[in-house]
């Protein structure tokens, strides 16, 4: 494991790709003629987050309080040379992995939950609300809220709520109140329950409930992925990685990560983009949710309910019904606008990994590196293994982002 003094590795500022994109990012669009969901964001999202969402600035200073919180939650995360994996694969080059599972909440999600909660607290809001599917985002939000002394509410997709009691529990330990969504806490939830008292819920419904709750209670809603501001906060992953590689005198030939909404991938890769050096940047998605392979680059809804504005992005359609795959965090129908643009321009490539390949990759990584990675991260690992096995890639320096650990998702190994 390679780390340096925290002070040197944690950057002073986040990096915002927008001013460095090859083209202008398409602005958000309202979904209905006579109402501005863009403007509504003012009442939903902390002001400073909204400012960061649309800023032209390449670098956004990390407030000292946030930097301290980053240190408290386990940053910088380690960059590890995966020597055991290299040996196992007989790979001639080097494989490094950045391990975001080393944060206290177990994934990169805390990187953005902290600044968002911090800015909300600065504004003196009543509390924090969000939705969660797989549970990682709710966990990060719960802790971040607690760190700034704010109550938090998490609308957890009903079926996950029932299948993942550990997730619910840990959010509770962090002080969050967790509702199975649809819930009777909101008008929208009650409406859904009215239709079907055993409604399994969906991310779309959970977002709708969270946003309604925010509006009704003057809470703020925290964004878990997709948005620019989130990718900006996540740039800490890539900035640290760059620094850690620099200390070792290394530079990547390939950067590989998984894509749900695109935040860990964007945060990991974007800081390398201004270097304009030849890097294979490979975004790994679930075969079952082939947003780049089968999706279209178009304006589409962020949330199924259409409360939030539309964005131009690769999407399978907001009404895409993802199969109930183990990697809940990759089920989102679309990818961040900036990532979509870079993909469309050919700056980023994509790969797909399916459940059997991912389970295999997770097992290999567990046995060689000792880390039971999150199922989402398993896609990155599977794609990295595939990449390393291609003879044309022999001898390259591969850096892969392991976005989280999977200790609270061990149930995916149920049948074994």
């Amino acid at each position: 494991m390679i780390t340096s003094q925290a002070e040197d590795v944690i950057p002073d500022s986040w990096y915002n790709i927008v001013p460095d994109l090859p083209e202008q990012l398409a602005p958000p669009r309202d979904n209905t003629e006579d109402f501005s969901s863009i403007e509504l964001l003012n009442r939903i999202i902390p002001k400073e987050v909204l400012r960061q969402e649309f800023t032209f600035k390449k670098f956004q200073k990390i407030p000292e309080e946030v930097a301290e919180a980053y240190r408290q939650i386990g940053r910088p995360t380690p960059l590890v040379r995966a020597r055991n994996l290299e040996k196992f694969l007989g790979y001639k080059g080097k494989i490094f992995f950045k391990y975001e599972g080393a944060t206290v909440t177990g994934s990169h999600k805390i990187n953005t939950a902290i600044p968002q909660a911090y800015y909300a607290a600065q504004e003196g809001v009543n509390g924090i609300v969000t939705e969660t599917g797989a549970g990682q985002w709710g966990t990060a939000t719960a802790l971040a809220s607690s760190l700034y002394g704010m109550p938090s509410k998490v609308f957890m997709v009903g079926i996950s709520y029932r299948q993942k009691p550990l997730r619910k529990k840990i959010m509770g330990i962090y002080g969050a109140q967790v509702f199975a969504s649809p819930s009777s806490e909101t008008k929208f939830g009650r409406e859904m329950l009215g239709k079907d008292p055993d409604h399994p819920g969906s991310l779309g419904i959970a977002i709708s409930e969270a946003v309604e709750y925010a509006l009704e209670n003057d809470y703020r809603y925290l964004l878990g992925s997709v948005m620019n501001s989130v990718l900006t906060h996540q740039s800490i992953i890539g900035l640290e990685t760059k620094k850690q590689l620099e200390v070792l005198g290394e530079y990547p030939d390939a950067l590989i990560g998984c894509v749900g909404g695109g935040s860990n991938f964007g945060g990991f890769t974007y800081p390398f983009i201004p270097d304009s050096r030849e890097i294979d940047m490979i975004a790994s998605t679930a075969s079952e949710v082939p947003k780049f392979g089968k999706g279209e680059f178009k304006y589409d809804l962020l949330d199924t309910a259409g409360i939030l504005p539309s964005m131009k992005m690769y999407s399978l359609g907001a009404d895409f019904v993802p199969p109930p795959i183990y990697a809940g965090g990759l089920r989102y129908h679309a990818a961040a606008p900036s990532l979509s643009l870079l993909m469309q321009k050919g700056k980023i490539k994509h790969d797909e990994a399916d459940e059997p390949a991912v389970k295999d990759a997770l097992r290999v990584f567990s046995k060689t590196q000792g880390i039971v990675a999150a199922p989402e991260s398993g896609h990155a690992i599977a794609s990295a293994i595939k990449y390393a096995k291609e003879s044309s890639n022999s001898g390259k320096t591969i850096v892969l982002n392991v976005s989280g650990h999977g200790l609270l998702d061990l149930s995916i190994f149920k049948d074994d």
């Binding site: 083209e23 202008q24 602005p27 863009i38 964001l41 909204l50 032209f56």
Partner: protein, 259 residues
Amino acid sequence: MGSLISPFSRMIKMRKNLILYFTLGFPDQGTLESFSRRISQDEVDYVEFGFPSGNPVYDGPKIRGTHKTAMSNYRPEDGEKLFRDLLGKGIKLYSLTYYRDIRDDGGKFLSYLKREGFSGIIVPDLLVDYSDSAFSAIGRIHEAGLDFIPFFNPSTPDRIIKEISSKTGSWIYYGLQPSTGINVPFDTGEVAERINELVPGREINFGFGIRNNDQVRELVSYGASGVAIGTALIEMLSSGDEEAFYSYLKEMRGVLDGK
């Protein structure tokens, strides 16, 4: 002071532009004509006209609303009357038009604008949705004898700002918000400083979401060449309140003149 005169402080001494935006056909020809009568070079520099669009995607709900009305109200001869009137008073005319609405017309709209005395055209969706066609579109605009007014906003990459600015010598329209009439938080000073840094010495007028005098003063203090007002006029237009409009123009001119 002293010998250290920055381009900004030099620009501050020049007259700042007041730019008005109207959607043609909103709320009706009569109101537009009476408002137009109140416009003079004493206060106003340019007028931008939006030609009715079926899908003004980068406009906010208020301006979107005007297009809806305009689509049924607007007749070309009405517009032409307004154009002549304003040109006669020395006001420069610009068209705010979506590329999607004109890309397939074989250059008819551009020739029309030229004929009608327009100085240039602002195409807010060109760099976003039709970036591959940007250079050829700019070429065609120039060929038609019109200025292409680059439309940038905080999301426009630096490289694009430099490249597009260098392709044209006209002023630049900088949209402060993701769409017209929207108000998401941003730091006015930072935004203004940054664009001045990227295209130093260039005339930059700011628009999209300008709401109050303080904001205008701040923009001016950071070297803005002028401001464009659109959404703020809609209520006066709707209520036909010509007097309010006139005093608004006076007030805004005062603010721009640093009074």
